[in-house]
């Protein structure tokens, strides 16, 4: 939106009048645009159809009626509470790690990056089993936690841990990219002006990395909201305590489709809105933050 010099922002200058060369090359592809749309269509339909079907199958009246059912409200409450705690924990504990990975270079960095990425590709059920053998009653830390009086099994803490395990990588990766993209010269200039390291971080680096970190946090939250496999294995399923929306959908699907449909539609709307929000945030505030590594 701001009048950036087109020479630098070539990647996102589609909002402003594009430079000539870009215009021309686009014209060449433009001739085949219909072919490309045709080729892209099948997968797009495949992705959109199940979502559309869910929305079509659920009437708004029934949906609102189901919203007042105790099992539905309980699941929504558990989901909102646990994901909120998870995302605060992820941001607070994840920011130092993201900063380290984004700014510093050190031995073993690749290994740590791979470790951080791992939960995103693991089947959530594997995450659940892994959490069990680590923090379960007979897990590696289980006895020690038990001595401290912390009983993780079947508690909301277990739900938060499952969500944090699978969702944290999204925030860490995105925030790290944001930190890495902060202009070094700007940082050095601020240092010359006598900014201390905390002040530097808070007033220079954080505002610049903010859009990436924010989109990572929203992405992380959306992932935590959808977490299912690790939760049902590690935290169990009890309405009002550990039964989150995805668990209620799974259990509900087997008895009455209505509960499942209502919660599915709510989840889809929440996820869609948050992903949409990320797009807006990235396209408006940070025209060049992502992928400028």
């Amino acid at each position: 939106m701001s009048a950036l010099p087109p020479a630098r922002g070539s990647k996102t200058s589609d909002l402003d009048a594009p430079p000539r060369r870009l215009f021309k090359s686009e014209n060449i592809v433009g001739g085949q645009r219909e072919l490309w749309s045709l080729l892209g269509l099948p997968l797009l339909i495949f992705l959109a159809l199940p979502i559309a079907a869910l929305l079509i199958r659920s009437s708004p009246v029934e949906l609102l009626g189901n919203l007042s059912r105790p099992d539905v409200t309980k699941a929504i409450a558990v989901s909102l509470k646990t994901t909120l705690v998870s995302i605060v924990g992820i941001v607070v504990l994840g920011t130092p790690l993201a900063y380290l990975l984004g700014v510093r270079s050190f031995r073993g960095k690749r290994l740590i990056e791979t470790l951080v990425d791992l939960p995103t590709v693991l089947p959530p059920s594997v995450a659940g089993v892994a959490l069990l053998v680590a923090f379960g009653r007979r897990g590696i830390l289980g006895g020690w936690l038990g001595d401290l009086g912390v009983d993780v099994a079947f508690s909301q803490l277990a739900v938060v841990m499952a969500q944090t395990f699978v969702a944290a990588p999204f925030f860490i990766r995105s925030a790290a990219v944001g930190f890495a993209a902060v202009d070094r010269e700007l940082v050095q200039a601020a240092m010359l002006d006598g900014a201390g390291s905390w002040k530097l971080f808070r007033e220079v680096i954080l505002p610049l990395a903010y859009p990436s970190a924010m989109s990572g946090a929203v992405m992380s939250w959306a992932r935590a909201l959808g977490e299912f496999g690790a939760t049902i294995i590690f935290a169990g399923n009890f309405p009002g305590r550990t039964q989150t929306m995805p668990l209620a959908i799974y259990i509900g699907f087997e008895v009455d489709l209505n509960t499942a449909l209502t919660l599915s539609v709510i989840l889809i709307l929440l996820s869609f809105v948050s992903l949409w929000f990320i797009r807006l945030l990235l396209s408006r505030d940070a025209p060049e933050a992502p992928t400028s590594r």
């Binding site: 069990l132 379960g136 009653r137 007979r138 099994a153 079947f154 049902i232 294995i233 169990g236 399923n237 009890f238 309405p239 550990t242 799974y250 259990i251 509900g252 699907f253 087997e254 008895v255 489709l257």
Partner: protein, 256 residues
């Protein structure tokens, strides 16, 4: 005439050497026993391949209602079979009970909850897992507590106290057993057949008068494209040979 005569004999065997695939949807509690029965059936019927889909009965019934391509359905309770009969997916006269089962209480071998008898289930702070009420095993567990609550031996308070100890309603009976085997829970209510195959668990019996009889109905589905082979499989499950396998896995067989 000649063609009609050779029709039935070629009906079961596979044209061109391709195996006849029989899709059997069976309750989660039947995993091991049906695995073995299916193996035996394949050995006596060369050219037939039995493919199982194991899950909670209610989930399977939903899948079939929503159009899953199954030949045979074996349920852990009559209600889920009834769903399919009501929907016209199975004929009532085709539904047969082939086995019964009952509930037991299981606990991890070190017995962290110090369970000595059923009354201990009511002790405050004990961690008890059952299957979700939507799952047959969970519904049966609740009806056991119902019957115990009405009995003079245990009484109403027992039922309330036990229900307060439930920390998780697991998605199926095997998940409940796993939580006990892992030692995450102090006790669980599962089928005798599950307990019979479990390692490192102890069991407490539930008195027969308050122990719901779990019946397993099986039926060939109307939509089956291999109806004759599907009927052969159901007959096999109800045969004396399968009965011996069922018994070995902790079930009580019901023969034809």
């Amino acid at each position: 005439m000649a063609a009609a005569a050779c029709g039935p004999s070629s009906g079961g065997s596979a044209p061109g050497g391709e195996p006849v695939r029989l899709s059997v949807y069976a309750a989660a509690s039947l995993v091991e026993v049906f695995g073995e029965i299916g193996q035996a059936f394949q050995e006596t019927n060369p050219g037939v391949q039995v493919l199982f889909n194991f899950a909670g009965s209610q989930q399977l019934a939903q899948q079939i209602v929503l159009g899953a391509n199954a030949d045979v359905f074996a349920s852990a309770n009559p209600e889920q079979m009834e769903v399919l009969v009501d929907q016209g997916q199975a004929a009532r006269q085709d539904v047969h009970v082939f086995a019964t089962n009952h509930l037991v209480v299981v606990f991890p071998a070190p017995n962290p909850g110090l369970l000595m008898d059923l009354e201990d289930l009511a002790r405050p702070g004990l961690k008890l897992v059952i299957a979700a009420p939507q799952v047959p095993a969970g519904a049966y567990a609740l009806s056991f507590l119902e019957m115990a609550g009405e009995s003079t031996e245990f009484g109403h308070e027992f039922r309330i106290a036990v229900l307060a100890n439930v920390v998780s309603q697991e998605e199926n009976v095997r998940a409940a057993l796993s939580k006990v085997e892992l030692g995450e829970a102090d006790a669980g209510i599962v089928y005798a057949s599950d307990a019979a195959r479990a390692s490192n668990v102890g069991t407490l019996d539930i008195p027969p008068e308050m122990n719901p009889t779990v019946t397993y109905p099986i039926a060939v589905l109307r939509q089956s494209s291999n109806a004759s082979m599907a009927h052969a499989f159901v007959d096999f499950v109800r045969s004396p040979y399968a009965a011996s396998i069922l018994m070995r896995y902790g079930f009580t067989p019901v023969e034809r």
